[in-house]
């Protein structure tokens, strides 16, 4: 496949051992940089500096991210699991206004550029297992966003959505995973509007029983489970109040296929036996 791929100018994969062979054609649209083990390839850095990178649409990096990635027309950068993610990379990313897919999963990224709201083509954003704990306020302006993945289950971290989501409830979302809902979180209200949502995972819930946020979330869940296409729902919360309130839903969520409740659970929701067996 590797030989076929370079033969057809499909993708250029720069592996540790074959940097020297790299004779990139300007037709190649995809670049993959692969550092095995812990080597930092000096050759690689040099080769890349000499290379004209303006035609790359897609970039994957494995191993160390020891390069600048200011490729302006990049659409699909995947930096999942890269070491050496630095602040200047955030700046590099902020220039890529044509982004469709951005994965920083498992990197040391701490924040996203506030220009993310201008990335009108962005469909998928993956910041799981990073130090990103909050999304910039402009993220609610993304009209085409389908997937937002954040948080870290193992380290019990969750992603905060901007409060502006209450006014701009990101109706295009299909997957929303790893979020926190705290007292006053706009997300508690916005969820009711996300009719296309298929997967929802709330990793932390910091709301008091009978507060406005609590009630808003419950009514949003009622909407989501009753009328939308939600098929997978995960909720992790320390106290039992919300989980036990799920009993009061008006109709059993017939489309639900996967239910994951973690916390102090006094019993399963009463509608559980009415879920379809498929």
């Amino acid at each position: 496949m590797i030989s076929k791929s370079s033969e057809e100018n499909f993708a250029l994969a720069l592996r540790d051992d074959d940097w020297l062979m790299a004779a990139p054609s300007s037709k190649v649209r995809r670049l993959s940089i692969i550092h095995s083990s812990h080597s930092k390839s000096k050759h690689g850095k040099k080769a890349l500096e000499k290379m004209n990178t303006s035609h790359f649409r897609s970039l994957s990096v494995f191993g160390s991210l020891d390069i600048r990635i200011a490729f302006r027309i990049l659409q699909v950068p995947d930096l999942e699991g890269c070491r050496d993610f630095k602040r200047h990379h955030v700046k590099d990313i902020s220039q890529m206004l044509l982004l469709k897919y951005l994965s920083l999963r498992g990197t040391d990224a701490e924040q996203l550029p506030s220009s993310i709201g201008k990335m009108q083509y962005l469909e998928a954003l993956d910041v799981r297992e990073t130090n990103v704990t909050e999304l910039p306020g402009t993220v609610v302006l993304l009209d085409r966003i389908l997937h937002i993945l954040g948080g870290d289950k193992r380290r019990r971290r969750a992603l905060k959505l901007p409060d502006g989501i209450k006014q701009n409830p990101m109706r295009s979302l299909r997957v929303l995973s790893g979020i926190v809902i705290a007292e006053g979180s706009g997300a508690a209200w916005a969820l009711a509007e996300m009719r296309l949502l298929r997967k929802l995972a709330i990793y932390r819930l910091d709301v008091n029983k009978d507060s406005a946020t609590f009630k808003a979330l419950l009514s949003s869940m009622d909407c989501l489970l009753d009328r939308s296409s939600l098929s997978s729902f995960t909720m992790v919360c320390e106290c039992s109040d919300f989980l036990n309130s799920l009993d009061s839903l008006s109709a059993p969520p017939v489309l639900l296929k996967c239910l994951n409740l973690q916390g102090v659970l006094l019993g399963l929701p009463m509608w559980i036996h009415r879920l379809s067996p498929s």
């Binding site: 496949m1 030989s3 791929s5 995809r30 993959s32 494995f62 659409q75 998928a124 993956d126 996967c258």
Partner: protein
């Protein structure tokens, strides 16, 4: 030149057994009813020269072409035999390349693209299904069909690559689906 070490199944019956075992359950066994008497099947399996990964890929190739008749397969066999005899380095590596090229050229265009995309990952990399699918969609490889969600269409591509053994399961999810896959190193080359 990349080396790969694999112990060939020296005895042909072993290869045949592996071939039959590697066929998914849904394959219409009627096609093979006269097997192992059918020369065509023996011939195809023999071409793999006892390399297990090739035998399994062949089984995937057969399974993914359910409409082909035994005559079609006979043509495939003669074509492959010609190709391999004409190729100068008569070793397992050359043989594997020829065979895999043949399988590759036989795939529909969308699968070719999606499988070439795997060359961007490191060898032996564990690739999560959802990551791959999201990237295929972002790259614009997945055709939107009326009434089918684009993610479901991409899932179908993933299953077809599994069926053809371009990718193999590495980890399953609690629901039983394939969560993580990898590419067999020989196929990767």
């Amino acid at each position: 030149m990349v080396m790969f070490i694999m112990l060939p199944l020296k005895q042909t019956p072993g290869s045949h057994m592996l071939f039959e075992q590697s066929l998914p359950r849904f394959v219409d066994k009627e096609l093979f009813s006269e097997w192992p008497g059918t020369d065509v099947w023996c011939g195809l399996v023999d071409i793999c020269h006892g390399v297990p990964a090739l035998v399994r890929t062949l089984a995937g190739f057969v399974a993914s072409n359910p409409k082909k008749t035994i005559e079609d397969w006979a043509k495939t066999l003669s074509c492959l035999t010609r190709e391999i005899i004409s190729s100068a380095p008569f070793d397992d590596y050359g043989r594997a390349t020829k065979l895999l090229n043949y399988f590759h050229s036989d795939m529909p265009a969308y699968l070719k693209t999606c499988s070439l995309y795997l060359s961007m990952f490191p060898k032996d990399c564990r690739i999560s299904r959802s990551r791959l699918i999201r990237r295929w969609i972002a790259e614009g490889f997945v055709d939107e069909k009326q009434g089918v969600r684009i993610e479901d269409e991409a899932e179908a591509y993933f299953s077809q690559l599994l069926e053809r053994r371009i990718i193999v399961p590495a980890e399953h999810s609690s629901g039983g689906g394939v969560k993580v896959c990898r590419v067999e190193s020989m196929v990767m080359e």
